[in-house]
């Protein structure tokens, strides 16, 4: 294929035929040059639209979907200028999407006022798919005069991360907000869970009188309940390239995203104020908020999250802790590396910290064929990781060591459930 060199090629053929025709004094060779000359001149003199007036409109069947959900994209390109002999349209499909059906490119004649429609179905993995423009190239029928341009035609599609629903995570941050919620505060007042008894004051509800205690003490005694309030929760998602493990197109980071989505969904459903920090590329901070709107913001932020290998964020030392109110609950989601222990232990001094750590060793192992050496290597690596996690546990950080072959709710509820917290507090003597 000669592409734009077709002119030069045909010109050379004509020149050679003429030169040889004259050199050998053969009119028949000159006559062979004539069809080529006609071809060249036809291309030059036939009408050609130099400045096409094209307008493109894009319609998506949805602007927000979960991963692997089909989305139908419709594209209409209308010619508002002169007739175009041969137009080629190529819609640039964002890299995170896969074409599964239909046409994303077309070739045709486009008369003035006519339009070409494209319709195709895509699906994709988590991310923000953005269409910016379509590539349009046009030429005469002979393919000798060519032009290419880009027609702006934007569109965006959020592909939300898939996440399992978590039903139980018990947290006890030091600071809570004034609004009532689901986080127990270790303070007596209005609530559901029994907290203790105290002397009855006029105005207390009579239905809360504790008759048995009153019989013992011989004075009016009323029940107190534990106050339940909403808390500030900061979710920190580790997006550092150095903690990433990817095998056969499967990424450990996607598990981190999934767990961040699950926990954000759970905490917001409990009425808490949740913020999100994606640590890796830049300080991608979603300001804390409540409710469904905040859930949408967090999911959008998680849909956009990408790994990064920026040197400044190589360690957790540059974690912007000022973003989180002192005494609030932090949930760090990271596969963890050895350097992270000190920073997390320091964080523990100011916050209640939970670490959800997708296990990179088991993740990688699940894709490898089982051998004697693999078992030995896994044991060594797991021992090393166990030391790292036990350092965190000793500092009072609650750790979920998540085997990614299991569904997230199982290890989360085992490690962060109500009974586990009660058990830990009993052992520590803080209940």
């Amino acid at each position: 294929m000669l592409g734009r060199f077709r002119w030069a090629f045909l010109g050379t053929v004509v020149a050679l035929l003429i030169v040889f025709g004259l050199l050998f004094q053969k009119g028949s060779l000159l006559s062979l040059a004539i069809p080529f000359i006609v071809f060249l001149f036809a291309s030059y003199y036939l009408p050609f639209c130099d400045d096409p007036q094209l307008r493109a409109t894009r319609t998506l069947s949805a602007s927000r979907v979960s991963s692997q959900t089909d989305v139908i994209v419709q594209l209409e390109i209308k010619n508002e200028g002169a007739r175009i002999e041969e137009i080629r349209i190529n819609d640039m499909i964002p890299s995170c999407l896969t074409l599964i059906d239909g046409e994303s490119s077309a070739i045709g004649v486009l008369n003035s006022g006519d339009s070409i429609q494209l319709c195709y179905t895509v699906h994709g993995r988590r991310g923000l798919a953005q269409w910016q423009h379509i590539l349009v190239s046009y030429n005469d029928h002979l393919g000798l005069r060519r032009r290419a341009t880009r027609v702006s035609c934007t569109g965006h599609l959020f592909i939300m991360p898939d996440f399992p629903i978590v039903y139980e995570v018990e947290i006890r941050p030091r600071q809570t907000r004034v609004y009532s919620g689901a986080v127990r505060t270790k303070l007596g007042g209005a609530g559901i869970e029994f907290f203790g008894v105290r002397e009855y004051y006029p105005g207390d509800a009579l239905r809360h009188l504790n008759w048995k205690a009153m019989a013992h003490r011989d004075e009016p005694v009323t029940n107190e309940f534990e106050q339940e309030r909403v808390a500030d929760i900061g979710i920190i998602l580790d997006a550092r390239e150095r903690t990433e493990v990817s095998v056969q197109d499967r990424s450990l980071f996607e598990n981190s995203i999934s767990s961040a989505s699950s926990l954000a969904d759970f905490f917001l459903a409990q009425g808490n104020r949740v913020g999100l920090l994606v640590y890796g590329n830049y300080i991608d901070w979603t300001f804390p908020g409540f409710g469904k709107l905040q859930r949408e913001k967090l999911l959008h932020s998680l849909a956009r999250a990408e790994l990064s290998d920026k040197t400044i964020f190589e360690n957790l030392e540059n974690l912007p802790t000022r973003l989180f109110p002192v005494g609030s609950q932090l949930v760090v989601i990271s596969p963890l590396v050895e350097d992270d222990v000190d920073v997390l232990v320091e964080l523990r001094a100011l916050y209640h910290v939970i670490v959800v750590s997708p296990n990179p060793i088991l993740f990688e192992k699940s894709f490898l064929p089982t051998t004697e050496f693999l078992d030995l290597a896994t044991r060594v690596a797991r021992l090393k990781r166990e030391i790292l996690l036990s350092q965190l546990r000793q500092a009072g950080i609650r750790v979920v060591d998540w085997d990614t072959t299991q569904d997230l709710p199982i290890p989360v509820e085992q490690a962060l459930g109500k009974h586990t917290l009660r058990h830990i507090q009993t052992v520590r003597g803080s209940l």
Partner: protein, 163 residues
């Protein structure tokens, strides 16, 4: 209508004309060589190896030029007309194959235009074969220079518009 089919038909016709021309002028070797090149080109159209079509086209054009020198001018001119058409249709079908959707009418419009150009090319090309005149060397040189200047100017303008 299918552009690839038209390209194959044009290749076959050009090949037939060159072979007949070779047989008529008594140059069987050229006919044999053109059969090899034409066969290769036809195979390429089935395998969609479009980059080889230009080489086959050039080879067959040289065969046609040789025939025109060996007194088989009409065979050569007719074969050249089909060769140009085949070369163009081959490139056109390559452009079509790059796209998922082909709008109705483009192939017919292309065939119409190429057919017209081929007809005009044949009529104009047959004029020197019908109307013969002798040219002095100085006249021939002058004609050659004028033709080449016109061609270069045309190519420069064309090259700019080719984008």
């Amino acid at each position: 209508m299918n552009a690839t089919l038209v390209a194959r038909a044009c290749i076959a016709l050009a090949l037939l004309l060159i072979v007949l021309g070779g047989a008529v002028s008594g140059h069987g070797a050229v006919a044999l060589f053109s059969v090899f090149l034409g066969g290769l080109w036809l195979i390429n159209t089935f395998l969609s190896w479009y980059s080889w079509s230009t080489f086959s086209f050039l080879g067959l054009l040289i065969c046609a030029a040789l025939l025109s020198v060996w007194q088989a001018e009409w065979w050569a001119l007719s074969a050249t007309i089909f060769l140009v058409s085949a070369w163009d249709f081959d490139a056109f079908s390559a452009r079509l194959k790059e796209h998922h959707k082909i709008e109705h009418g483009i192939e017919k419009a292309h065939l119409r235009q190429i057919g017209l150009i081929a007809l005009v090319g044949f009529i104009l090309g047959s004029i020197p074969l019908v109307w013969r005149f002798s040219l002095a060397l100085s006249g021939a040189l002058l004609l050659a220079i004028i033709l080449i200047i016109v061609l270069v100017l045309s190519l420069r303008t064309g090259g700019r518009t080719a984008g």
